[in-house]
């Protein structure tokens, strides 16, 4: 069956539908859908400085490619990139090079921060020190902490991430499984329960696009990298939930879309419920947090005292 729009050779069948699209119609469809998300949820305003979190993998480079196109054609905003080097040998090195190459070619300012400069240790070093702790739980805390702090230092108005529909469906289900509704209130196409100048709002232009659609877009724009798994990924609970949802999706097409669509309907109620929650300042680093000492400083103290 040819492309539904122009009858050319198809490259992709859209999720939960019989519609097939060719290369150029798919790229148009993809970019329109991301732009619709940006407009509907007011993710980017004129003159914003949008810092894009990049790893150098296909998802973040696809986002950077799309935003760069948008900044030069449709919306007048400033774009730069921020890469966090966790220090994972044989995994991150290759993607850092890909990010550098992409940013140089497209004339985008790339800022690099590392776990080493903030915690004095690489993730490999931290994992060696705490072999029984799940690397992903420490890594997630440190990455979010550094991304927020650095993007604020860069005077960002928004921090864009490559999260897609699959990522969001996983986060929603993981929070359900852990009975952590307060954490779900912080999800959505634009994060944050209430405005606070210490928090840079995180925006997700690919929120309603599936991982398969993002990979297709990446392939068509020559941004697909050689597949490589993080050394610590088998420790992640997220990967168990991801496989479970993909199995469900194969049996009951539309499952992931339904999870996210249902969530979007109740999100305003969740934000309302948690809007009065106090945002404190960490006693050590003064960064915003929900307890006396933030999770990142707790990890850093542990690294120091148990060294």
């Amino acid at each position: 069956m040819p492309c539904k729009i122009c009858k050319e050779k198809p490259v992709m069948q859209l999720p939960n539908s019989n519609i097939k699209l060719c290369k150029s119609c798919f790229v148009k469809y993809f970019e329109r859908k991301a732009l619709r998300t940006i407009r509907k949820y007011k993710l980017i305003s004129r003159k914003d400085h949008v810092v894009t979190a990049v790893s150098g993998g296909k998802d973040s480079l696809s986002l950077l490619h799309f935003l760069n196109k948008l900044a030069s054609k449709k919306i007048d905003f400033k774009l730069s990139a921020l890469l966090i080097d966790e220090g994972i040998k044989d995994y991150r090195d290759g993607t850092i090079e890909a990010a550098k190459k992409f940013c140089k070619k497209n004339n985008i300012k790339l800022n690099i921060a590392s776990y080493k400069e903030v915690t004095r240790k690489t993730l490999d070093g931290i994992k060696k020190q705490f072999p029984d702790t799940i690397a992903c739980s420490m890594c997630g805390v440190l990455r979010r902490y550094i991304l927020n702090k650095k993007s604020r230092e860069l005077k960002a108005d928004k921090l864009a991430t490559g999260h897609n529909l699959d990522d969001e469906a996983q986060s929603i289900i993981m929070n359900q499984f852990r009975h952590n509704i307060a954490l779900s209130a912080r999800l959505g196409p634009i994060t944050g329960v209430k405005k606070d100048p210490r928090f840079i709002p995180r925006i997700k232009p690919f929120y309603f696009l599936t991982e398969k659609e993002v990979a297709t877009y990446a392939f068509l724009n020559n941004l697909m990298d050689k597949f490589k798994e993080c050394t610590y990924c088998t420790e992640s609970n997220r990967f168990v939930v991801r496989d479970m949802l993909n199995d469900m999706e194969a049996k009951y097409p539309g499952t992931k879309h339904s999870i996210v669509a249902s969530f979007i309907e109740i999100l305003p109620l969740l934000k309302e419920k948690f809007k009065d929650q106090e945002i404190k300042s960490c006693r050590i680093c003064k960064e915003p947090c929900s307890s006396e000492i933030c999770n990142a400083c707790t990890i850093m103290q542990k690294i120091k005292t148990e060294a």
Partner: protein, 64 residues
């Protein structure tokens, strides 16, 4: 028999099926988790192959 290169496992296998959909079923691969290329061009699940053709199966999941 068509040949299939599995990017994630970095290996090539021979398969009986002549349609992408059948091949994915034969290899027990969930179609929502991969994209498929032939001669470096994307093809859809209903594409048919000849006996001597080679396709690549690329994972869409990110590695970390």
């Amino acid at each position: 028999m068509p040949a299939v290169h599995l990017e994630r496992e970095n290996k090539t296998v021979k398969v009986k099926g002549l349609r992408v959909k059948e091949i994915l079923k034969e290899l027990k691969i969930n179609p929502t988790t991969v994209i498929i290329t032939r001669n470096n061009e994307l093809i859809t699940d209903d594409a048919e192959l000849s006996n001597k053709e080679k396709i690549k199966i690329l994972p869409v999941i990110s590695g970390g």
